[in-house]
Amino acid sequence: MYEGVVQNLIDELGRLPGVGPKSAQRIAFHLLAADPADVERLTKALREVKDKVRFCRTCGNVAEEDECRICRDPRRDPAVICVVEESKDVVAIEKTREFRGRYHVLGGAISPIEGVGPEDLRIRELMQRLADGTVTELILATDPNLEGEATATYLARLVKPMHLKVTRLASGLPVGGDLEYADEVTLGRAFEGRRLLDV
């Protein structure tokens, strides 16, 4: 145990994900030895992230204003909405540079066993966005695990009366891997979702 303030810092750092007691101690002593200006920058960044960042009122993504950068961008196609679980997924899809539409962040997936039902996600907000008829395609990009699939099934059923084009991200073989190493569920999905090769 160290003296009050140092131990305090170690305890706080230790509460971060993936930081154990030993790492917390290492970071704490690094900060103690660091240039005061560096530490000042870090405290400023921490304070700002809590003060400035909120959630986009349209899509639920993290934003610095009422609306996020993507929702404000007029070049993004308002007719296509891609539904994801978390803000992290928006970043992952943006990296592909394949998608020019807009997003909707649900804030998780339906998981009855954890007590998370449809009413705990931003599904009502999604339905409001779909109500005015601008949106013609809904891309369901929830995680390809059981809870993500169940959430996609639930949403597809919910929007069925609206006669939208509803698509689900493909599941299949990872690029750059060997076929023999694929598990049978993934390989089965890859077969199911095979496409016509028109050369």
Binding site: P112, I113, P174, T186
Partner: protein
């Protein structure tokens, strides 16, 4: 006794009940196994897209596993799918929610880790198979499973005789706290008074008489579900969270005239 006692590796087949995130890319997987009972084990790297493991360790999967025994959390070193029951369930929301309630119940009814629970395992396996086949109303499959798993756990409700006097006639009430049906003479205040076909339906579900159960009316099914849920919650201290999210397949839901037990 496991086949390879003394060695730190052991093998068993089981049904994945639940997964929880652990650290960066790992999961804690809860499995109900045939020989060892309920096990919580760690699976490394399964959340990465390149993992060959991930799909095999999803809830509802009947899987053949190899574990490495450790002091705290055992490690899953190999997994082979026997049958992925999740695949047919996940595309049908009412079936998925019913299945989730079955998994949660199985976890709650096997309180001790690594205590063999063969009958609970077989019951869950049969229940998931029936649910995935899609031949019966998912809520009926769930209620049948709940009644039978409670019976295996030692809480079988009395349905064809009065819990107080043993009479087989004029069964009018269902007293949750007393443990089953009651005749008109013994009926206690506060006991539910289900329609006679509801008690018959519960009995049919407990015995596996699907012909009778499939022919039942929606309002009796709804009443049966209400009673089974109340009976289950009474016996399980913390209740089953997913039960609240279970959906009915048919749209019209008749009212449940349920009284507190």
């Amino acid at each position: 006794m496991r086949d390879n006692a003394g060695v730190s590796l052991y093998r068993d087949e089981g049904i994945v009940l639940r997964t929880q995130k652990l650290g960066e890319a790992d999961r804690i997987v809860t499995v109900l196994t045939r020989r060892t009972g309920r096990i919580r084990a760690a699976a490394k790297g399964v959340r990465k897209t390149k993992s060959r493991f991930g799909a095999r360790l999803e809830p509802f999967t009947h899987v053949d596993l190899q574990f490495y025994e450790r002091r705290s959390l055992d490690l899953i070193t190999q997994a082979e799918t026997l049958r992925p029951y999740g695949e047919p369930l996940v595309t049908d929301y009412p079936r998925y929610t019913a299945g989730t309630a079955m998994l949660e119940t199985a976890e709650k009814l096997t309180a001790e880790e690594k205590e063999p629970a063969l009958r609970q395992f077989l019951l869950l396996l049969g229940g998931l198979r029936t649910l995935a086949d899609g031949a019966h109303d998912p809520r009926l499959v769930l209620d049948a499973y709940l009644l039978r798993s409670l019976s295996v756990a030692g809480w079988a409700p009395a349905l064809d005789e009065c819990v107080a006097c043993g009479s087989r006639n004029r069964l009018r009430a269902f007293a949750i706290a007393a443990g089953g049906a009651m005749c008109g003479n013994c009926r206690r205040p506060g006991a539910a008074t289900p329609a006679p076909p509801t008690l018959e339906l519960m009995l049919a579900l407990l015995r596996g008489d699907w012909e009778h159960a499939d022919g039942s009316q929606p309002r009796h099914r709804a009443e049966c579900s209400g009673l089974v849920a109340a009976y289950l919650q009474w016996h399980l201290e913390h209740g089953i969270r997913s039960l609240r999210h279970v959906e009915r397949e048919a749209a019209p839901i008749t009212t449940i005239d349920e009284e507190p037990g």
